[in-house]
Symmetry: C2
């Protein structure tokens, strides 16, 4: 039997745990990702927990690869996960960074259309595909929630296409920082975590690491942002950052 979380990738250690009972999942949901809970829907929650496996994924580890049989669906409860597609020669495009509460693996095909890898140590809930689908039949509310999520993901994808197709390097970086700041729960002036590497940022924005670094330094030099360390930034001048993003 195939278990997610140990499909290769150097370093780190993936481990899958036995199914957990209501309390644990619910706690996690309520505490860490209210959205997940809502997705599950009240009545479906018990049934969902019965088919849940918890996955712990160390930073850098692969959850699944593009083309793998899509036998599982996931929700992220802790950490950051990136999903990406690759070309034969190694060029990579990261199509999204997932945060706690996000769904993952919603593929209505035989195999995953993209790869998923942990950016930081991550915690996920895994649902076997067939059992989840059966559950979907009995709970239209759950299906509605999934449709809603797919729809908003589609909107985000279109926004990203606009960025990749039509924005300059400066605009891409500014847009990225604003999106991160928007998703970050903290207050305005607090430092926003930047958990991904420059490689990841570059592959998300369709740039090179050098260009990302230059644009970040330029934004810092012009006083738009502050970079306390490599993995945090602070929005200093929101107006100018917004202007730079060409929204």
């Amino acid at each position: 039997m195939r278990t997610a979380g140990n499909t290769g990738g150097p370093g780190g250690e993936g481990a899958s745990f036995a199914p957990v009972r209501c309390g644990v999942l619910c706690e996690d949901c309520r505490v860490r990702a209210v959205a997940v809970c809502r997705a599950m829907g009240g009545p479906a929650l018990d049934e969902l927990e019965a088919i849940t496996t918890r996955i712990r994924l160390a930073a850098g580890r692969t959850l699944f690869d593009e083309g793998d049989p899509a036998d599982g669906l996931f929700t992220l409860t802790e950490g950051v996960v990136k999903i990406f597609k690759m070309l034969a020669d190694g060029r990579r495009q990261i199509t999204g960074f997932l945060l706690p509460g996000d769904f993952l693996g919603l593929a209505f095909f035989r195999s995953y259309a993209y790869s998923a890898e942990a950016v930081t140590d991550a915690l996920l809930c895994r649902f076997p595909r067939d059992r989840f689908m059966a559950l979907l039949e009995r709970h239209p509310a759950l299906e509605k929630e999934l449709l809603s999520r797919a729809s908003s993901e589609l909107a985000a994808a279109q926004e990203q296409m606009l960025l990749l197709g039509r924005k300059s390097a400066k605009e891409r970086v500014a847009s990225f920082l604003l999106a991160l700041a928007r998703r970050h729960p903290g207050a305005g002036a607090a430092p926003v975590p930047l958990p991904m590497s420059r490689y990841d940022i570059a592959d998300y924005l369709g740039l090179t690491i050098e260009t990302v670094s230059r644009e970040l330094q330029a934004a810092r030099a012009s006083g738009v942002i502050d970079l306390p360390d490599r993995h945090h930034f602070r929005v200093v001048d929101r107006q100018r950052l917004l202007a730079a993003a060409a929204l």
Copy 2:
């Protein structure tokens, strides 16, 4: 009362018709877009027809604009429609070309996240949002079909992100031609219609019209494709076109 199909845009003429009965919609579905029919689901068909309005849209006319209140959903039964987003300064990114059978306007928000405009003369079926949603409640099969569509659109969007973020101009044009050829029902050697302008192609691929033109001419000159006229092409050497697309 607001009717789609006359929201501005120069030239052409949009017209909305009275609701049509079963026979007409069904005919259209069966003949032109089997996928639409399947989407509707057997039992839901009668109810769906009762809330259907047919829309005829002349080439170049706007169906709706980004930000408009999303009070309608559509299926395209004839023609080609483009959906796009724009930046404040006029830069445009076309995020998709829709063909007969495609769904449109699936926004679970208050307003459309993108604009839609006819590339060629087009025929659509319009469903009022609230009545369609109510219908969705009673027909889970329809909801499942929508989820399936949203899911495959998402996969297509990710593929396009890979193209926009990581492919060269040559690879983008080659990928575009292959995608068109794949969707075209005709046999291998038949000329494939290229209904959109060079402007549209450029804005879909994140390039300029000049670059698109140059790449098309280069592909023709190297014997990979044939360009009988401005709005048709023929795949001459499929292997080399595939190689050029960097799939």
